[in-house]
Amino acid sequence: MKDFESGTNDLYKALKLDPENKQVKISLTSLQKERKNEEDKEKKRYQNMFK
């Protein structure tokens, strides 16, 4: 089960502790991308439901 909320929380905390950490930045970017993907999928699902 994906939990983007907790994931984002952890990554922001990590970034705060180590603002220059590239790996953390990359992880955060890919999380946001993944999140958007999931949200788009979700939207489509509901659109289909109410057609």
Binding site: K2, L11, D18
Partner: protein, 161 residues
């Protein structure tokens, strides 16, 4: 004996073990018969017995030295992307770092090293795609070391996978 102790250590909830513990064979061993537990001296350079109880090591410093060597062999596997074997070594190192029989500085030293190995385990689990376990292990790390950036990062990644 090591087997019994390892079974003892399996985490439980409501007295039910969280992992499957199954007796698949029992009885008396004939003299010289292989018990199927002792792994042949491995070719990876790990000369320590699987169970710390069989190692004869007693002081914290001896145990840490052994655990570091075992961990290093795990790292070699990790670099070769053999994450399963790496995990086996890291789990073994954790057994050597068990601090429950120690107090004071010794306990602290062992626990410190345990956290480091947990770090390696979480990286390995992430590669194996075992995200629930990544969350479990990194949460353990963060309970003792809330500012561990790598643990936060790995847990963050695991949550979103």
């Amino acid at each position: 004996m090591g087997v019994v102790k390892q079974l003892e250590r399996v985490e439980t909830s409501n007295d039910t073990p969280k992992k499957v513990c199954k007796i698949v064979n029992c009885g008396e061993l004939k003299e010289g018969e292989d018990d199927g537990i002792v792994v042949k001296k491995s070719e990876d350079g790990d000369s320590y017995p699987d169970f710390v109880e069989d190692s004869g090591l007693t002081t914290a410093d001896e145990l840490i030295k052994a655990a570091l060597e075992i961990k290093k062999i795990g790292n070699d596997y990790f670099v070769k992307k053999d994450f399963k074997s790496a995990k086996v070594k890291y789990d073994k190192a954790i057994r050597y770092l068990d601090s429950s029989e120690f107090v004071g500085d010794d306990e602290k030293k062992l626990d410190e090293q345990t956290l480091v190995v947990y770090g390696n385990i979480s990286a390995t689990l992430l590669h194996l795609g075992k995200n629930a376990e990544v969350i479990e292990v990194t949460t353990k790390i963060l309970n003792s070391d809330p500012k561990n950036v790598k643990a936060l990062m790995r847990r963050g990644q695991a949550y979103s996978k």
